[in-house]
């Protein structure tokens, strides 16, 4: 598991962007919370009442060891148990593409959280397109650059695909941000082709209709 927080209390750029979107003292469910970097940051900097769901024992151990409330489980199986509107924010960071049923997962997020924050790698990114076009090979994406047979990313989508899915499950896009490979961010308009081409990662703040 890669560490997503520094020793100085800083967190990964995409997590920082998510943290900035979250109102202080709100209730947050972080699905696929990993080592709990976001939850820990939110709890100490924004007095957030946070909960997590994480698949790996190592991840859950690290979270609980740090005093976070995290349940071992997986997004595909366990989101149905959470009641509607139980959280102000349901966060799914870098996990959607690894779920078995992304549509159902997104529907549950919209049901559980008053707002939903989703981030994912954009497979419409120019380098992915170019790799496939010129070299005829799948491009290894994500922080650890696993080859296609080893990646947990089983449902890859582009920003445009995601925008369509949001429409289908009645989630309204309130904000969109893309990140390029250097971690620079740009605001995003749903109809922009540039974002889908230039954004290596995408991050959305969604609201149930």
């Amino acid at each position: 598991m890669s560490l997503s927080s520094g020793t100085d209390g800083s967190i990964r750029v995409d997590l920082q962007i998510i943290a900035d979107m979250i109102e202080p003292k709100s209730r947050v469910l972080d699905i696929g919370c990993g080592d709990g970097a976001l939850l820990a940051y939110l709890s100490s900097n924004k007095q957030v009442d946070g909960r997590g769901l994480e698949l790996s024992m190592e991840g859950v151990n690290r979270c609980v060891r740090n005093g976070l409330s995290v349940v071992q489980g997986d997004a595909d199986q366990d989101l149905k148990d959470y009641p509607a509107g139980a959280f102000d924010y349901a966060v799914l960071s870098q996990t959607l593409q690894a779920t078995h049923r992304p549509k159902e997962v997104l529907e549950h997020l919209g049901r559980i959280g008053r707002r939903t924050i989703v981030s994912f790698p954009n497979f419409g990114f120019w380098r992915v397109r170019l790799g496939l076009l010129l070299r005829g090979r799948m491009v290894a994406t994500g922080p650890t650059h696993e080859p296609w047979y080893d990646t947990p990313n089983i449902h890859r989508c582009t920003i445009r695909d995601f925008v369509d899915l949001c429409r289908e499950v009645d989630l309204v896009i309130e904000r969109g941000i893309v990140l390029d490979s250097t971690g620079r961010t740009a605001p995003f308009s749903a109809i922009s082709c540039a974002a889908n081409l230039l954004g290596e990662q995408a991050l959305f703040l969604l609201k149930s209709r």
Partner: protein
């Protein structure tokens, strides 16, 4: 319904403390009987702070007792939770005041079937009222009140101890800041009831049981109790662990004897487990306590809904299961977690990957210790300790 009044076992017999509870008001049991002026034996480790806010209650399992972190007064073996309770350990006795009481129906100083029934002057035997997990917790609640503790920082325990921790959290949520049920379940499964029934039948089939009145005959149903222990012991381990420990190795011999002696190490081990158990445990207590576990069903008084049992709970939960535990499998803990999530409760859950089976909570499992201490640290921080 007469009030049963128990006599004192002299406190000098065992180390630790003993109090008489139910003095002003008897303890009303689930079966309808009442217990008045009954002894409860308990042991404490670490100092209670001035605010009385650092108290942790550990609930012991079926055959456990209050001597969790010191040599056992009868067997001289290390305490059953020596790895967890002590200075610098998960339940750090330099920070916390850790209490463990012998359960109602037990045989280590708390009132149970082997004590004298003051109404008759004879041992209770099977005339002792049938008790439940809720009754055990009811007695512990009287003890905690007696000690002047407003709120327990943590209630924890493994197996039957987990049942008690859950019962505490549901019955007295305002008295419990956090609960950590380990290798537990919301109710006893049919399979577990079945195993308990085998144990009970073994005890009752022993002619030395004498309809439960063996104390008058100055015997103990050793064979029956020992078989019960042997059968139960198998359920505490995983097949992998049994194989790792014993395989098909022979005991002190090179070849099979073509007889019914303990040829295999595993047989010898089980026989040893059985024969040492009868020296420290009362057969009737075994009947009563296994029954209490069988009757346990947390959701029952909430119309069968676990979610309702946890509705609006202020308690912080941390559940742990062990991957190779087939007596209280992970699925049982998950059912609790699902209900806690549905009740939007503050809950953590981890399945520890191990081949040690149900006994995992008693053994050296660093992954478990990490989670357990981490959770407790978080709770202590929230309580400003």
């Amino acid at each position: 319904m007469c009030a049963l009044k128990a006599t004192h076992v002299p406190a000098t017999v065992l180390p630790g403390h003993q109090v008489t509870l139910g003095v002003h008001e008897p303890l009303r049991l689930d079966c309808g009987a009442e217990l008045a002026e009954f002894p409860v034996a308990f042991q404490t480790y670490g100092k209670l702070n001035e605010e009385k806010s650092n108290a942790i209650l550990v609930c012991h399992a079926l055959t456990g007792d209050q001597f969790m972190a010191e040599p056992h007064p009868i067997t001289a073996k290390p305490g059953w939770w020596d790895l967890v309770v002590g200075p610098g350990k998960s339940l750090d006795t330099e920070r916390y005041h850790v209490i463990c009481a012998n359960v109602l129906g037990g045989c280590m100083g708390t009132v149970g079937p082997k004590e004298i029934d003051p109404a008759t002057g004879k041992h209770y035997g099977v005339k002792f009222p049938v008790i439940t997990i809720a009754d055990m917790v009811g007695a512990q609640k009287l003890l905690i009140d007696h000690l002047g503790i407003e709120q327990l920082l943590l209630v924890t325990g493994g197996s039957m101890g987990a049942m008690q921790a859950l019962e505490w959290a549901v019955q007295y949520p305002e008295k419990v800041f956090a609960a950590a049920p380990i290798a537990g379940a919301a109710r006893h499964s049919a399979q577990n009831i079945a195993f308990h029934e085998v144990g009970r039948q073994a005890i009752m089939a022993d002619p030395d049981w004498h309809g439960g009145d063996y104390q008058s005959h100055n015997v103990i149903p050793k064979r029956g109790l020992s078989v019960a222990r042997m059968a139960a012991h198998i359920t505490y381990m995983s097949e992998t662990a049994l194989h790792r420990k014993f395989g098909r190795n022979l005991q002190d011999r090179d070849q099979l004897t073509y007889g019914f002696e303990a040829d295999f190490q595993v047989e010898s081990y089980l026989r040893h487990q059985g024969s040492t158990f009868v020296e420290r445990f009362d057969a009737n207590s075994y009947l009563y306590i296994t029954r209490a576990m069988d009757y346990f069903d947390l959701a029952k008084e909430f119309g069968g809904s676990l979610i309702a049992a946890f509705a609006n709970t202020p308690v912080r939960f941390c559940l742990t299961s062990f991957s190779s535990d087939w007596l209280f499998p992970t699925s049982e803990s998950r059912e609790l977690v699902r209900a806690l999530n549905a009740a939007a409760a503050n809950a953590s859950f981890v399945e520890v990957t191990t081949d040690k089976g149900h006994d995992g909570f008693l053994l050296d499992e660093p992954a478990f210790f990490d989670v357990f201490s981490g959770f407790l640290n978080g709770c202590a921080e929230h309580r400003g300790l």
